[in-house]
Assembly symmetry: C2
Homo-oligomer: 199 residues x 2
C-alpha cells in the first residue's frame, strides 16, 4: 500500500495533532494549504507567529491581551466594584456578548484539579487576591463552569475572599432558557426547584 508523499503525510499529521481535528479533516486542511496561494499561506503562518509573540496576560485581570492592561480593565466605563471570576478567556467573550454585565473580570486560566495535577497556585488565584487588596471591590461573582471541579474551585476561592469582608456570589443554577424540561438532567432540575422564585 502506498501512502501520501512523505511531506504531505507530515503536514496531515501536523493538523491531525490539533484538538478536534480528525484524520479526514486534517487531509482536507493539508490539501487546501498545498493548493492555496503563497500570500495566503504566509498570512496564515504570520498570524500564528504574531499571536504567539504579542499575546500575554493582562497584568490586572489575566485575560489574554496585546496590551499591558486589557481594554476592559483600562476602560473608564466599567463598574470597578464588581469582579466576575471565570475559567477561560472565552468565558469573558460569552459574558460580553450579553451586553448586560459591565463590571470587571478575572480569568483563572483553569480550575483546581488534583486529578490533573493542577494546584491552587497553578491558576491565577494569587493575582485575584492582590486585586482585592488594591481595589475598591464590593462583590466577586464566581462564574466557573458548573462542573465538579469548577464548583470546588469556586468554593475554595470564596473561602479565601470571605474573611476580607467582600460579598461573594455565584451564578444561578436552573433550567436553560428555551430548553425542553423533558431532556433536563435531574441535578439541574433539583437545583432549579431549590432556587425557585415567587412570581
Amino acid at each position: 500500500m502506498t501512502d501520501f508523499a512523505p511531506s504531505l503525510e507530515k503536514l496531515i499529521d501536523s493538523f491531525a495533532r490539533l484538538p478536534s481535528i480528525g484524520r479526514k479533516t486534517a487531509q482536507r486542511l493539508a490539501f487546501y494549504l498545498i493548493g492555496a496561494g503563497d500570500e495566503e499561506t504566509e498570512k496564515f503562518i504570520s498570524s500564528i507567529r504574531e499571536a504567539r509573540a504579542n499575546l500575554h496576560r493582562c497584568s490586572v485581570c489575566c485575560n489574554l491581551t496585546d496590551d499591558e492592561v486589557c481594554p476592559i480593565c483600562s476602560s473608564p466605563e466599567r463598574d470597578r466594584s464588581v469582579i466576575c471570576v471565570v475559567e477561560d478567556p472565552r468565558d469573558v467573550i460569552a459574558f460580553e456578548k450579553t451586553h448586560e454585565y459591565d463590571g470587571l473580570y478575572h480569568v483563572l486560566h483553569g480550575v483546581i484539579s488534583p486529578m490533573n495535577d493542577v494546584d491552587p497556585e497553578d491558576i491565577c488565584i494569587k493575582e485575584l487576591l492582590v486585586r482585592l487588596n488594591d481595589e475598591n471591590i464590593k462583590e466577586v461573582i464566581m462564574a466557573t463552569n458548573p462542573t465538579v471541579e469548577g464548583e470546588a474551585t469556586s468554593i475554595y476561592i470564596s473561602k479565601l475572599i470571605k474573611p476580607l469582608g467582600i460579598k461573594v456570589s455565584r451564578l444561578a443554577y436552573g433550567v436553560p432558557v428555551g430548553a425542553d424540561l423533558e431532556y433536563a438532567d435531574e441535578f439541574t432540575l433539583i437545583r432549579a426547584i431549590e432556587g425557585r422564585k415567587t412570581i
Copy 2:
C-alpha cells in the same frame, strides 16, 4: 462589546478561513496553538512550508509527490497496462487501501465544470493522452466520482481515448456493500437493477 485581543482575533480568522473549520473550532485551535510550546509551533509551521516546497505533481501520473516520478509510477511491481483515472490524490489512497488494484493511476486534479469555469485544459487530460501514446496501455478505467460532473468528464475523456483503440471501462454502479437498501436513493437502485448479475 469587547472582542478577543486583535492578534488573537486575527489568528482565529486565519483558522476560520480554512475549509470545514467553523468559528468555534477556529477558537479552539487558536487557543491551543497559543498555549503550545515553541517547538511544537515551529514544527507545525515548518510542516506547512516543507509540504509546499517539496510537493509537486508526478511528471507521469500527476499525483502529488516529493520525487520527480511518484513511487507508484516508478514501481517495477505495478501492472503497466492499466491506468485508473481519478479526480484527486485522495482517490489514489482510497484505491490503494483495497490492496486489490495493482495498475497505474492518473490524477486529473478536478473535473470539467462549466459552472465553475473549469475547462478540459484546466485538468490533467493532456498529460493522460501523452501517456497513452508513449506507453503500452491496454485499458483505461474511468474512476471519477459518480456525480454529474464526474460522469461528464468521464464521457469526455473516453471519447478522446476510444479512437486510439484502447479499451475504456468505468467503475460499476450499484448498492454499496453493507448498505441498507431502505435508505438507498432511487438512482442508485435503478443502476443496481440495470447492472444486475446472474448468480
